[in-house]
Amino acid sequence: MSYSKEKVESILNNGISRRSFLKGLAASGVLTSLPGGILQANEDLNTKIPYVGQKNYQTFRNACPRNCYDTCSIKTYVKDGVMQFIEGATESTYTRGGCCVKGNSYVKRVYSARRLKFPMMQVGGKGSGNWKRISWDYAMETIAKKLLEMKKEDGTLLGAALTKYSGNFGITHYGVEGMFSSIGYTTRLAGTPCWPAGIDAQNLDMGDMWCNDPEEMKDSKFIILWGVNPASNSVHSMKYIYEAKKKGAKVVVIDPIFTEAASKASQYIQIKTGTDGLLALGMAKIIIEANLHDQKWLDANSKGYKEYKAYLDKEIKLDNVSKITGIPLAMIKELALSFAKAKPATVWMGYGMQRHTNGGSMIRAIDALVAVSGNIGKYAGGARYGHLSTWGFNYAALSQTKPEGSVGYTGVSAIKGEFAKESGAKAAYTDRSLNINKTARELLNAKEPKVRLLWVACKNVFSQDFDRNQLIRMFQQLDLVVVADQFFNETAKWADIVLPVATQFEEYDVNVSYWHYWLSLNEQAIKPLFEVKSDVEIAALLSKHMNKLEKGSCTFPQSVDTKVMTIKEFNPGIYEQFGIKSWEELKNGPVKAKAVIPYADGKFKTPSGKFEFYSDKALELFGNALPSYVEVRKPYDKFRMTSPHSRWSLHSQFQNLEWMEDMHPEPYVYINPDDAEAKMVKEGDTVAVFNKQGLLRVKAKLTDNVQAGTVLMYEQWYNNNIYNVNELVDDTSSDMGAFKTGAPGVALHDTFVNFRKL
């Protein structure tokens, strides 16, 4: 065989010789002779000789939608239709040109060989691993037929259930809920596994959940990071904390775990889990006794301060506070007094702290502490938890009417959700809501009609919900499980049909944060790979097939363009809030909401219009009007198990990428050396961690970052590993959540386990 490698390479690498080669190719008639296949002859060669020199990048605006405080504004660089790299947008002072390790791996995520590529159907039963490729039309026709058959047999579509949560917070993705609304009254897994107890708490206290702009923290004089670890999970917030610290502010981390944020703080206070509320009450008492409270603000802006003070006087004994929280009294006093003296001072409460049976009451106690110190409604102050104040979109994709004659559930209030609420006139019927935090149990128990079809979107049920064994049983009982996702995960394993979903780079969308104040457009930067479709395109296709089978059975538009869908989400209110005239301005970069200090005007959305220490609503709903000490769940096993987020993943997202696998390839149980010694466990030993729920085998790492009596296991999912910490978590509820989000949260961190060396 002889061929000239040099000759070919010179053609390939040299623009001029390549042009003449291509011209010759066109002239020689080769192209008309091609037999044809997936590749076609380039008929336009004469006019469009490819430019082989350096091509410039095209840039696009994107936004990270993965449920992270930071919701980064991203600038995407594309060459010849291929994403090359991304960077954080420099226009956003929050993102400030950087992304986290997860965001920086986006190119690898989009082009991961593990992406779901085609719609597929599992033949031979759920979990059999026997998959057939199906067309989108076949997939949608199958689902549509099933839905219509159910409607005919049951007289309603309540047998169709939707579970969707936070893997994609793009606003148009509420089109998934919209799709379910557009077929009739259905069953929804309602509530949130994330932050409901705190949402209720802040709403009881302040009538809203609205945190100050995190960028203000740079000017705070005292920052308490209370059960939050931004050094891992909100990396962009750290620069404001560092700046404040550099300017002399004190940064205190209160956490049962010595976290990355704790390592960066001025002081770390290790608190006994679930006693944070008591510490806050003790601190408030000390502040009031030292006369450092803001009486003027309290008089003008609060309700029930007197009752609250009386409660502190009578019920809160500082010696007890010290004993129960495990913090020396002198340290508590010092903390309370220096916090009260520093102005402005702020507390950032994490979502971990409210994942206890007394979580809502702890957030209420901390809100009260910040109020007592006079830091609510102040620049660089505030009791920070989260906000939805910049989420005033139209929810056009969500808002669909029911088909005529739809029959639903009677006598129950409409579905709630923390981001967008179903609206419209009061109907005779409603959807049926089941508690998302008890998915397996609730689906199994739902009767008349029983649930027969489950649609999973933006969510990995098996990684994030509880009681895996019951989930498997439940999934196997269902007639049809549809999982729409970007990757094959454990939920997809138990599906009948998997639908490949677009990433944010393959669709238009818009996004804001529940933490900072920036708004980002998400442009389609590349063509959708393989056969992936966006959630709203899937909804439209389902609508087309339902209407083909039975006219009028689905009201969702039958064809959509993600760009048009995105534009429909904007309104004058959004433009006004962000100081822009049109969404098109967002192509130039993200914009920030006009500066506002929540509650600076002293107006609260509570029934009294004031900050409510004493809440009638709280009394009515939860039997306790005041922020008060509620004991945490009693141990039912030897060790407390806590399962925070790791920095390498967002729940189960990102962990399957090689970068993350390189750095954090397998799960561990982190054990305090004293506990390990007592159980004769050494570093690297495989141990069984078990409780009444289940058992996991993992390697041990010994560290006094976790206190004695507690073990830590990250909540994430690992590729090719059956580890799932939720096998050990029961679905016990936290105290609050049902008020605003429709269902209480889960007391994740009130899980107890034992372990032994294997």
Binding site: M1, Y3, L25, N130, K527
Partner: protein, 185 residues
């Protein structure tokens, strides 16, 4: 046009059938292409597809991803350097690709198509203009990654699918034959 010698027809057909296997969109297309390879293996259309998907398509982690970049650039990622290099080669060969940026150019089915078309020009149409490119593509690209792909596919423990083993061995013999065959002209 010359009358094709039987061995030339065979040579062309084999590339074509293998191409069609890897480009099949459904079980019917797959079975037609598979049967055309004269396999003596009896397998139902459905089983063939299930096994094919487990090996090469997904949705679960595959036995061997059929993308060159996975073997030459990064085991987890496609649409990387190699894909763009192959894209360049196709342009130079005078091909356009309607699935550009949808299915990476270095997918085995697309590469076998390019190879088939170039070979067809040489053998059936007696156009040797692109022969250098075909050899270059074969020796400097296909021969670099397909052996690794085959190795991964054939290493599947206990070689649990006769049909897939057959496809892989056919591909192997094709590669051996093509890389040891002298130029057509």
């Amino acid at each position: 046009m010359q009358t094709l010698q039987p061995h030339d027809t065979l040579r062309l057909d084999e590339v074509k059938h293998l191409r069609d296997i890897f480009n099949a969109q459904n079980s019917k297309e797959l079975k037609v292409a598979f049967d055309a390879l004269n396999a003596s293996i009896e397998i139902s259309q459905e089983d063939l597809e299930i096994q094919f998907n487990r090996y090469f398509v997904g949705p679960m982690e595959t036995v061997a991803d059929p993308f060159a970049s996975v073997y030459l650039d990064n085991p987890d990622v496609f649409m990387s350097k190699t894909t763009l290099y192959v894209r360049d080669l196709y342009e130079t060969m005078g091909f356009t690709y309607s699935l550009k940026n949808v299915i990476p150019e270095d997918h085995l089915g697309v590469e076998l198509d390019a190879y088939y078309q170039l070979l067809f020009l040489e053998i059936a149409k007696e156009i040797t203009y692109l022969s250098d490119l075909r050899h270059y593509f074969l020796h400097e690209h296909l021969a670099l990654w397909i052996p690794r792909f085959l190795e991964r596919g054939l290493a599947q423990s206990e070689r649990d699918s006769k049909a897939m083993t057959f496809i892989l061995l056919q591909l192997k013999s094709l590669l051996i034959r093509e890389t040891t065959t002298t130029r057509s002209s």
